[in-house]
Structure formats: structure tokens, C-alpha cells
């Protein structure tokens, strides 16, 4: 391969098999980053992608683990942390200010005066952190599912053996690994560079890759994630040049000599492989430190210190001396530029620990083995990610945080990129040694994410756009409509000039696609009882063939939706809800039916029925062209419900609408929608018909003072706050009646009102309403009314308990007055016409 990567202004040669870290190390780089808090130099340490030391920004993407990321020609690499640079970091002065910056200092300082925190917060945030988030839009990953019999996580020896064994039994087997998988086993689906980031009920395992997220649904899971090397804790353990055995062996494997002279601590068998790797690379071994039981395994000719204890590592920019105390108690400083630590294994068992009990998830190999024994950390850096030392833990303990979980939360130990892989066991050992109760001294709870994962990958499933479309969608597109989102629906906002559409409704006739409305059939012997109990609307006097405004209140008496209730006589009830409220309306009805044991069927017809609104003073004239059924004012009055055949399409017609003109909602079979729309549009040409979209509707409904539930309302709005007490029948018991009785004892301190503005239009929506400097409310809807030639709106205002509601207000610099609604045709003569 060859080539060069760019490290700042430096060009770093890349050789075959190089990782970014090995290329940097070969080029003489020893300081890979600066620590999060104290800006201490950090060098290559674990070499297996666990610790945070070698995180770099690659081509603008921060947090890339350089020790496991293949290097390639042309990469632009930047080291993270440090100002103005990692090599010369002014902020390293913080390393001398430990006494001023103890653990949790930001909870106790910069409190008075209050404004100082804003400055401190900014300063702290700028001085810490790992890289910078990329500016501009990020990519969108993909998301998919994968089903198999066995998922093996980890492509090492144990994982491969488990995968081969499962495949041999005829099980569909998937083997994933966050790195490459050498010699993929036959009959096994291999997902290389897929990191398992979480195990969930099912079982389900999430895998993250650069392409996106894979949700694997296996019958059983084998966790073969191996073990990390123990992270010894002693003063100077984070100096560049102090490194774990696998890091050094990895460098040697890639043809990089880790240093000239090494002190090697070996406390388990794997350490001798690392020792041999150093020797094979020509590194001079200054001393080998081993426990007595391993003395015989040390190759001849090496200076061996049996039973010596590591006291500290010394050096300024990198390690210069390993300071040890030998078995006789003599302290020795041995010169070295590599202090290699191979002291044991710590199972990478986080995926196992986050599995629910009883799930078919098993660990194999090192992941399921016992951790190597270790002592209690006495001094030194425990958490490389968050720069937490033993002294920090002691201070937190002394302040009363006396469990692993509390220590974690207070000091942030285990909360960095390694998620406790390096430090989690040290924390538990510390808590236990200090006398924490048994249940407070264990490992902290393992939760996803097990590995650092870009947010764009996590968000891959929600990047997917899911749109609802009515059967008329293609017609709207063909008509050149401006289509956009309205809740989860794609709807036309305008077909051309919204004011022309508005005028068609007010002056001639128009159509609108209202198929998005929620539509329900409620039938069965207890249908009426269900409706009566579920809603505050009076039901007993609603005759078949008639409709009534329906207000939907939850058990707390708060408005969650509205719509129309149509009596179908023996067939039951037909309900509409708002477009965005259909799901909740259905859930509400089903819940009330179940709780009260009503024998009623609730059938959601939202997808089954389309709806077209024909509205305008010429609306009846238009429909008369298309139907033989009687639609005159006397036969089919306002709020009437009839079966009408329009242009050959059977419709359930409701004489109601949101716009304040003669209006017919034609509820039809979805598949017949396009032919019905075309027929109406064609017949309407001589009458000047123009379809209208949501932009025109916004003005039309506002002129009538109709609030949009959701836009003009708040979650705790009661009928009284919205001026809708008239829609509540007080003479019956219903789901919310007790709550309304209780709420009714207090006069509302907030209410929705009609507003008239000195000037302006839709831009006033959202603007605070003030009396003097005091904010007393907010504009929820606003528009310039063409027919009234006024600026109008809705908004909520509040008052002090003993005061009247204000009437003269300001919306920014615009004068506003509280006025009664409807603004247009207050007597309702036009809609009844």
C-alpha cells in the first residue's frame, strides 16, 4: 500500500499493515493526545482500542481509535486535546493546579455571583473534551435487521471455535468482530468491522459499523470478546512510554521498534510473548520484573527482579525511569524509554453483564474467565479517559460518595470512551477496600453502549423518513402543489397563491383533501354507553343523521383532541379526530371500552376512508351537479349526516367544516378518492373552483376562531381555558367529569383568547405577549385576514389569581387587544346557509 498520511503539517509515511498509531509511532510521535482535564501527555498505551490515549481526528471525524484503525494514503490526522498544540500545550499548567481543581469542583465553585458560572462553564468546556464535532451535516447511516440461530461476538480463537462448532451443527451462524476477521470460517456469515454495542431482551444485539446499525435477532448469543490487559495503577502510569504488552507487540508486528531500552513487568504467561516481541525487535531489556512463580520462565541472560514492586514511572515528556522496590526493600530507578506492563487480563464482559437474566447469552474464552488478581490501587491514574486518580476517589469517598455507583457519578470514573474497560474493576476494588457495603462495592451497572459509537450511526433507524399519504397524494403532486409535512402526513400547503385559494373558499367554492382526519366506527350493544362515558359531549339527544362537535378530555380533564361525533342510529357512531390525534383517539376509546367492560367494537377507518371537503358559498350548487340525492338546506342542514352518492361514489357526507362556509365533508372509500376529486374539480371549473391547502386553511379557521389542538393548546388545557365549556355536558358522568368538578372550583389563571393586532401576520406566531415588560402569554396563531382586513390571532394569556385578565397587550412591538371570537361571521349564518 504505502503512501503518506498528513499529521498536521507533517507527512507521515505509511507502510503495509500500518495502523494510524503504528505509522505515527514509527515517525517518532510519542505524545498522542492530552488528557481530558489536566492536559497530561498521553502516549500509545493499550494498542487494542480500549483506552482513550490514541484517539485522533481523522478527516474531520473525532474520536477515531488510531491503534486499531488502518492507515491509508492521504488521511488527514489531527491529534486531540491541547492548545495551541498537543506537543506544546499551554493548558498543561492545569496539571499543577490539582489542589484548585479537585474532583467535582464545578459543583461547588463559580456559584456566586451567578453570572460567573456562564463564563466558567464556557471556559471549562473549551479546555476539555475529546476532539471537535464535525461542522455541517453528517452522514446518515443505514439500519437493517439480521436473523440467525447463533451470533458469535468476537473473532478471536474462542469466537471462531464457537462459530465453527455452531455452523457444523447446521445452525445459521453469524460471527462479528469490531476489527478484521482473519481466515473467515466456512459456513459462517462474517461481519468484520461490526462492533457489538449492546445486548437487549430477545435477545437482540446491536452492531455498529461505518455503514450503519445492524440489529441482530439470534436464537442465542456467544460472547467471545476476550480480555483487556490489566491497567496497573501507580504514579506516572500515564506517561508516554508506559504501555501495555499488547501495544508493544502490535508495534513490533508492524515493524516498529517500540523503544531502545525497556523495563518489562510480567505477571502472567502472555507477558513472555510480549517480552519476546521486544527482544526480536532489538529492544534492549534493562530488567524483567516477575513474581517468584514465573522466575523460571524468564529467558537466560536477562536481569531479573523477582518480587519487585513498581513504585512509579518518572519522566517529563516521556518515561525515563521505572522506579521499583526490590524484594530486599531497595528502591531502584532503572533507565528506560519503554516501561512495558503485562500484568494480567481483565475479561471484556460488559456485553455479558448487560444481558438480562435468563437470556440465552453465554460467554466463552477469556470473556468468561476470571479476572487476574490485582491489588487495590493506592496512587496513580485510575481512569485514563476522565483523568481520575486514586486521590480523586479518596476525596469523593470522604465527601460521602460511598458506593461504586456514587463514586462513578461524582467523579465520572468509568464514564469515558473505555466505559470502564480499563478502570471498572479498580473502582470496585477501591470501594470494597474502603468498606463499602457488599451491594455497593461491585462493578457499576453495564449498559449500552459498550463501544464508542457515532451518533449518526445510533440515529440510523430514525433517519428513515416514514410518510403517510392520502389516496390523492399523486393528484396533488401533479397539480404542482407545495407538499410538506403536517405531523406524519405529507399534505399540500398550497397549489399556487394561498390568497386565491382562500378567496375561492370565501367567495366561490373550493375543495380540500381532509383524508388525513382520524375516522372511527364505534358499534356494538354498548357503543352509546362507551361514547357517553368517554367524552363530555351530550349523546342522548343526538338523533341519527346528526353530528355534534366532540371534545376529547383525558381523565385529568385536559383536552387532548377534538372532532365530530356522528350518529348512525342502529349502526353505531362515526367519529372524526384531528389528523395528528387519530392514534391517541383510538387508544382512548379502546382503553375506556376495556376498563369499563363495554361491549363495543372500535374500528379505525382512518386508512380505509378518504375525505374531501367541498366548501364555499357555491358548494351546494357544485354538489348538486354531481348527485341526485337531496342536499338542500332543509333536507341536509348544518351538522347533518347523510349517505350521498357523488359522481357515482358512495359517500358518508357531513355538513360541517372548519372554514365557516357551507361545507360538506365527503367521506368515501379510499380507492375511489381520485375519481371523486377529479369529478368535483371538473364540475367546479365553471364555478371558479380552486383547491386549497393548509396555508389557506390556517387563515380560514382562524377567522372562525377555531383552535388547533396541539398548536393553540397546551397539554394542561381544560375546556374552561379554551373557552369550550359549552362543549361539556354537565348533566352526566363521564371519564373526566370528576376532574372537571375539581378543576372547576378554581378560576383558570390562563386562557386562550382571540387577539387583534395593529399590524402583522403569521410572523407573530410564537411571539410573547407582554403587559409592560412582563410576559403574560404567547401568540399561538396569527394571520392577516383578507376579508376583515385586520391582523388577527389566538394566544394564551395569564393573570395573577386576584387580577382580571389583561386586555391590552403587546406582541413584540405590535399592539394587541383581546377580542371576542369568531372574528368572521360570528352568528354562523354563512356556514348554515
Amino acid at each position: 500500500m504505502g503512501g503518506r498520511l498528513r499529521l498536521g503539517r507533517k507527512r507521515v509515511p505509511v507502510e503495509d499493515g500500518d495502523t494510524i498509531a503504528s505509522a505515527m509511532y514509527r515517525a517518532g510521535i510519542r505524545t498522542f493526545s492530552r488528557s481530558l482535564k489536566y492536559h497530561r501527555r498521553r502516549g500509545l498505551y493499550c494498542g487494542t482500542g480500549e483506552c482513550p490515549n490514541c484517539l485522533v481526528t481523522v478527516d474531520g471525524v473525532p474520536g477515531v481509535r488510531s491503534c486499531v484503525t488502518p492507515a491509508r494514503d492521504g488521511m488527514r490526522v489531527r491529534r486531540e486535546g491541547g492548545w495551541p498544540s498537543v506537543e506544546r500545550d499551554v493548558l498543561s499548567v492545569l496539571d499543577r493546579l490539582h489542589a484548585l481543581l479537585p474532583v467535582g469542583f464545578y459543583y461547588k465553585t463559580f456559584i456566586r455571583p451567578r453570572w460567573i458560572w456562564a463564563i466558567a462553564d464556557r471556559a471549562i468546556r473549551r479546555s476539555v473534551g475529546l476532539g471537535r464535532l464535525p461542522a455541517g451535516p453528517v452522514g446518515t447511516g443505514t439500519s437493517r435487521h439480521l436473523h440467525c440461530d447463533v451470533l458469535v461476538v468476537g473473532g478471536g480463537d474462542s469466537g471462531r471455535a464457537a462459530a465453527v462448532s455452531a455452523a457444523a451443527r447446521g445452525e445459521r451462524t453469524v460471527l462479528c468482530d469490531e476489527g478484521e476477521v482473519r481466515d473467515p470460517p466456512e459456513g459462517v456469515e462474517v461481519l468484520a468491522r461490526h462492533a457489538a454495542i449492546g445486548t437487549y431482551e430477545g435477545p437482540m444485539v446491536s452492531l455498529a459499523s461505518t455503514e450503519g446499525l445492524v440489529e441482530v435477532h439470534p436464537e442465542r448469543v456467544v460472547i467471545a470478546t476476550g480480555a483487556t490487559e490489566l491497567h496497573p495503577v501507580f504514579p506516572g502510569n500515564d506517561l508516554p512510554g508506559v504501555m501495555l504488552g499488547r501495544a508493544a507487540a502490535g508495534l513490533v508486528r508492524r515493524g516498529v521498534k517500540p523503544g531502545a531500552r525497556a523495563v518489562v513487568v510480567v505477571e502472567h504467561d502472555e507477558g513472555f510473548e510480549h517480552l519476546e516481541a521486544l527482544r526480536s525487535a532489538g529492544v534492549r531489556i534493562a530488567a524483567v520484573v516477575v513474581p517468584a512463580f514465573l522466575e523460571s520462565a524468564v529467558p537466560d541472560g536477562l536481569r531479573t527482579l523477582v518480587g519487585a514492586a513498581v513504585l512509579r514511572a518518572e519522566g517529563k515528556e516521556r518515561v525515563r525511569f521505572a522506579v521499583l522496590r526490590d524484594a530486599e526493600g531497595v528502591t531502584r530507578g532503572i533507565g528506560c524509554d519503554v516501561f512495558l506492563l503485562s500484568t494480567g487480563r481483565s475479561p471484556r464482559d460488559d456485553l455479558l453483564r448487560m444481558s438480562a437474566q435468563g437470556e440465552p447469552i453465554e460467554g466463552v474464552g477469556d470473556a468468561a474467565a476470571a479476572a487476574s488478581p490485582r491489588g487495590v490501587p493506592a496512587t496513580g491514574c485510575v481512569c485514563l479517559c476522565e483523568d481520575v486518580s486514586v486521590a480523586d476517589l479518596e476525596r469523593a469517598w470522604d465527601e460521602g460518595y460511598r458506593s461504586s455507583e456514587l463514586l462513578k457519578r461524582y467523579t465520572t470514573v468509568t464514564m469515558g470512551p473505555c466505559q470502564g474497560a480499563m478502570c471498572g474493576r479498580h473502582l470496585a476494588a477501591f470501594a470494597a477496600a474502603r468498606g463499602a457495603a457488599t451491594n455497593a462495592a461491585g462493578r457499576t451497572t453495564a449498559r449500552p453502549l459498550a463501544r464508542p459509537t457515532p451518533l449518526e450511526i445510533l440515529a440510523a433507524p430514525v433517519h428513515e423518513v416514514i410518510d403517510k399519504r392520502t389516496s390523492l397524494h399523486d393528484l396533488h403532486v401533479a397539480a404542482g402543489a407545495r407538499i410538506s409535512w403536517s405531523g406524519s402526513w405529507l399534505r399540500p400547503f398550497a397549489y399556487g397563491d394561498p390568497e386565491q385559494e382562500y378567496r375561492a373558499v370565501r367567495e366561490r367554492v373550493s375543495v380540500m383533501d381532509v383524508g388525513t382526519l382520524g375516522k372511527f366506527l364505534v358499534t356494538g350493544p354498548d357503543a352509546s354507553a362507551l361514547i357517553d362515558e368517554a367524552f363530555p359531549t351530550r349523546v342522548d339527544d343526538l338523533a341519527p343523521g346528526h353530528a355534534r362537535y366532540l371534545l376529547a378530555l383525558d381523565e385529568a380533564g385536559y383536552v387532548f383532541d377534538d372532532g365530530l361525533l356522528c350518529s348512525l342510529g342502529a349502526e353505531g357512531w362515526y367519529l372524526t379526530s384531528t389528523s395528528g390525534g387519530a392514534d391517541r383517539m383510538e387508544a382512548w376509546l379502546r382503553d375506556r371500552a376495556d376498563r369499563r367492560g363495554f361491549g363495543a367494537h372500535v374500528v379505525d377507518l382512518t386508512a380505509e376512508r378518504g375525505a374531501i371537503l367541498v366548501a364555499g358559498p357555491l358548494g351546494r350548487e357544485l354538489l348538486a351537479e354531481l348527485t341526485d340525492d337531496p342536499i338542500d338546506r332543509e333536507t341536509f342542514p348544518h351538522m347533518g349526516v347523510r349517505e350521498v352518492t357523488v359522481a357515482g361514489v358512495p359517500c358518508g357526507a357531513i355538513r360541517a367544516g372548519f372554514v365557516g362556509e357551507v361545507a360538506f365533508e365527503l367521506h368515501h372509500p379510499r380507492s375511489r378518492g381520485p375519481e371523486l376529486w377529479r369529478a368535483i374539480a371538473e364540475a367546479g371549473v365553471p364555478l371558479g373552483l380552486v383547491p386549497h391547502g393548509l396555508d389557506a386553511l390556517e387563515v380560514l379557521r382562524l377567522e372562525k376562531g377555531h383552535p388547533y389542538v396541539g398548536q393553540d393548546t397546551l397539554p394542561d388545557d381544560t375546556p374552561a381555558k379554551l373557552g369550550l365549556e359549552w362543549a361539556v355536558h354537565r348533566g352526566k358522568r363521564f371519564a373526566a367529569s370528576r376532574a372537571l368538578e375539581r378543576l372547576g372550583e378554581r378560576m383558570p389563571e390562563r386562557k386562550l383568547v382571540g387577539l387583534e393586532f395593529d399590524r402583522g401576520g403569521a410572523e407573530l406566531r410564537g411571539v410573547p405577549l407582554r403587559v409592560g415588560a412582563l410576559i403574560v402569554g404567547r401568540v399561538t396563531s396569527a394571520a392577516r385576514s383578507p376579508v376583515l382586513d385586520r391582523s388577527i390571532g389566538l394566544g394564551w394569556i395569564r393573570r395573577e389569581p386576584e387580577d382580571p385578565f389583561p386586555e391590552e397587550l403587546r406582541a413584540d412591538r405590535v399592539g394587541a387587544r383581546v377580542v371576542p371570537t369568531p372574528f368572521y361571521d360570528p352568528a354562523g349564518d354563512r356556514l348554515r346557509g
Binding site: 428513515e464 403517510k468 402526513w489 356494538g524 367494537h601
Partner: protein
Amino acid sequence: MAELWSVHASEEACDLAMRAPEAGRVAPDEVMVRAPIAEDLRRAVHTVDPESLIREAGEGWAEVALDGSDARDVFARVSALRLPDGPGYVQGDVARVAARVFVGDEAIRVLVPAYWESHLRRRLHAEPGA
């Protein structure tokens, strides 16, 4: 799409309705049937639950059939649902929308509320092998 019927009835009557070919249990009190319901079965359901409601529901649903050798693989990539080995019925999340799935000998038929039809088709067509 074949005829699609919805049976809303008591649990006992729904148990009976499940005898219809291509029947799927939507809920204890609801069965979806992707085929005509024989008259004698209708009568039997009504006998057990005189208040039962049996209605044609095809207008509200869009059906996308996956057939061919890759059908199961394509389906598996867009859903966590585990399909029965033979003919059967499952329901749940498919391509992130609520779906009812009839598994037949020749095809997997995914039914979603009609307003999600374009989403489902778009999503399935994006899958390799679809």
C-alpha cells in the same frame, strides 16, 4: 389484493373465525382473514357472538407480496419479526411501521394501512434482492 375481512367478536367467536383460511389473530377480539369467509363460518361466529362484526376491510390496507428465493432474506432485513417456517401469520414492525404479515407457500404478504403503502414499497425496493 385478495379479499380482506375483519372479524370483531368475542374471544370465543374469534377462535372460531381462526378456522377460516389465511386467518390471522390480530387481538383476542379481532381476526383478519385474507380470503372469503364461508357463509357457514359466518353463521357460526354470529351464533357464538350475536354482536360480532364481520366487515370487508380491503380498502384500508395495502399489500406488498415478497416472493422468490430471496423473499425471506429481504423481509428479515427490514423486520425483527421471526417468520413461521410454513404458512402462518405474524404482526408487528416491518420497515418501522405496523404491519400484518401472512406467510404463504409462495409468498410473504405484508399488509400495512394504505397510507403507508408508498413507504413500504420504497423501503422494500431499496433492499438488495427485492
